[in-house]
């Protein structure tokens, strides 16, 4: 039993560790990617269920989100223990912010997003009928976000922006019922914050002043180590009264000098401050919405392909259940990786067939990876602003009753020009720890993550109408991938061989090529 425990712990550790090898073969880390892109495309900012409302001239030169550091994850894990150790805190925050409101209770909620004047309760059903749905000028349909800026009093070489959303009544008890609690009474409300960054000990403290007058303490935010070029903090705070606030703090690279004139105002002051009771008569710029959905799905396991070069795998006697039961008799005497691969394919593919063939962008489990980005933005003529991106993720089945993981890098956004923003994200996932031993039995592999990557765009035309598009769509060689924009299938890539799962990317050896 000790061996089992140690073995599972080892696998768990390997599978749950965030990709740390992004620099292999020169592949940039997320932060580096941001940095490089920012030199050509302008300012970057993170869109983690948060607002980026600044006009171009007010955005700091490089506001960036980096991949979650382990220290941050570890710090936050006690709060999200019930979510599972494999899910990083940043994803949970974003996913939580992007939770789909329920049908009924949003009717009384002032801050809920809407489409075509209706409440946003049909978003998961693909109800966006066009690429540029407008909200009829109803200010209540505009997501309320506050992005306040704070900086060190004693120094100008670090600056961070705090984004946040407050979800009220989403969870009765965040610590014990995080994921299963249906967002039956969910509101998104703005809040004010007064925060400080203490560069020395790397924490963020402050208080939250809600619109409804509720004051709540904001727990410490880990701002990242000083060695991190993009100190980022994220946490979720129980505000009392059934409310939960999520925060993402973003820091500029240490040493990045910003002129005082570039200080960002509290964005909420740049537009009319609305109380929940106020509504359509307030003159605000309508919000456009575009929904991007990418899916990776298993059409079938054929063609199986060949693993080159041949190599050993996990010895059969070490295979944990259910693999020693599922694999065909005599599997322990298969001495080549390709022979073992065919044995595995006979189990997972051709009989108990995936045959996934999603025709819509619905979150319906007929896929392995599902990543949805809901972008909202405003068009002031041809000028785009107030760009938001809300990710929603879902992982599908790998075997009957066994689900794989789903994670995301990004979403990140960059202004391409006055009328266009690019939104980038990469959805990826690896097998369930119960499944991975079977893959390692075929042949040892490092490439555990399948992935898809989207460079989407949102833009405004001269008439002030918003649109969605994309610059590129890529994915791992296995499985298939498909992209929708506002419910319209726009792109797909058929899959390569099943054996491609054993071919690592040259850029990141934890990812499939």
């Amino acid at each position: 039993m000790i061996r089992i425990s140690v073995w599972f712990a080892s696998i768990q550790h390997r599978l749950c560790a965030p990709p740390k090898h992004r620099k292999a073969a020169g592949f940039p880390t997320s932060a580096e990617r941001l940095e490089s892109l920012s030199t050509t495309s302008g300012q970057w900012a993170m869109l983690a269920g948060a607002a980026m409302s600044q006009p171009p001239s007010q955005i700091p030169a490089e506001v960036a989100k980096h991949s979650q550091t382990e220290s941050e994850s570890d710090a936050a894990l006690p709060q999200i223990g019930a979510y599972g150790k494999c899910i990083r805190i940043s994803q949970e925050l974003m996913s939580t912010v992007g939770v789909i409101p329920s049908d009924d209770d949003l009717s009384n909620d002032s801050g809920a997003r809407s489409v075509d004047g209706s409440r946003g309760d049909d978003r998961s059903a693909g109800s966006y009928s066009s690429g540029h749905t407008q909200s009829s000028g109803d200010s209540r349909s505009t997501p309320h976000h506050v992005a306040s800026t704070f900086s060190l009093d004693k120094s100008t070489d670090i600056r961070a922006t705090l984004f946040g959303n407050a979800l009220f009544d989403a969870f009765e008890d965040f610590s014990t019922q995080p994921k299963v609690a249906a967002p039956s009474r969910r509101q998104v409300r703005p809040f004010d914050d007064e925060s400080k960054v203490d560069r020395v000990n790397g924490t963020v403290t402050g208080t939250v002043n809600h619109d409804d007058g509720v004051m709540g303490p904001m727990s410490n935010l880990t701002a990242g180590s000083l060695n991190n070029p993009f100190p980022t903090a994220s946490t979720m705070v129980n505000l009392g009264m059934g409310g939960v606030a999520s925060f993402v703090g973003l820091g500029l690279p240490v040493g990045e000098q910003l002129a005082p004139a570039q200080s960002i105002e509290n964005l909420e002051t740049s537009r009319p401050r609305l109380s929940p009771a106020e509504g359509p008569d307030v003159d605000v710029i309508p919000t456009d919405f575009v929904k991007f959905v990418a899916k990776s799905f298993i059409n079938g396991v054929n063609p199986v392909g060949v693993i080159v070069p041949d190599r050993p795998g996990l010895p059969f006697p070490l295979l944990p259940p259910p693999w020693d039961y599922l694999l065909p008799v005599g599997a322990e005497y298969l001495f080549t990786a390709t022979a073992r691969l065919n044995a595995l394919a006979s189990v997972v593919g051709t009989i108990e067939a995936f045959n996934q063939n999603p025709q819509t962008d619905a979150m319906d489990q007929t896929y392995r990876l599902f990543s949805q980005i809901e972008a909202s933005f405003t068009c002031d003529g041809a000028n785009i602003g107030n760009v938001n991106a809300f990710p929603i993720l879902d992982g599908g089945n790998e075997l009957p009753l066994i689900k794989g993981t789903i994670d995301i890098n990004g979403p990140l956004a960059a202004r391409l020009d006055a009328s266009t923003f690019e939104i980038w994200w990469q959805g990826f996932g690896h097998p369930n720890p119960l499944v991975e031993p079977g893959m390692q039995w075929v042949a040892y592999r490092t490439s555990v993550n399948i992935w898809h990557e989207v460079r989407a765009t949102v833009y405004c035309d001269d008439q002030g109408t918003g649109h969605g598009g994309y610059l590129s769509f890529q994915g791992s060689q296995f499985p298939s991938h498909r992209l929708w924009i506002d419910g319209t299938k726009v792109d797909d890539i058929n899959q390569g061989s099943f054996s491609d799962l054993w071919t690592a990317s040259a850029f990141d050896w934890t990812f499939v090529a």
Binding site: P321, D324, Y325, T350, E352, L401, D492
Partner: protein
Amino acid sequence: MPIRVLPITVILAIAACSNRTNMTEYRAVHLSAKQSLPIAVQMEELFGDADHFITHFGFSGQKSNTWNTEVYFDGRYTLTMQVEILINYSKKALVVSGNPKFYLHEVIKIDHLPDGRIQSKYGMNREFTAEEWTKLYENKGDFSVIGIELRDDPLSGFDEYEQGWRSPRIPISLLEKKTGPKRPDATKKEQTTDRK
């Protein structure tokens, strides 16, 4: 070996949950659609060659499964019919539990990726109902009767595109005799289609 014997309860649980099927059962269930899902037969009649497959066949814990019939035609279009079904594995039969939906997509660009895969961009997306399908079938696949104009402009590389999507699937035909109305190009396609 203790590592393989100890978790006997896990094994039993998996065994109980896993509706292990074989190829005979797979084919038998699909062929039962001849009686229970005539639309799938009609699609094959009309377009000459079709893929029939069930998403998550054999997966336990499925409330229902999705039946797919997919055809590729005119060198540019794909038509997919999906409908929810309930499978009785012991009787090797299925019953339709939902309303069929048809998805027509136009491929407008095909790129061959360096690794051999094919990336496709899509233009027209149209959905229609079983009632519209009936009109279409009665008019031998004339899409104009349901308000859809098709382009007669086959795309270069469409055969490879079709092959790329069809090759992972298990070929099953619901037709014993190819009868009924047929699109003018269906016969020609039957002669040229070479599934690997």
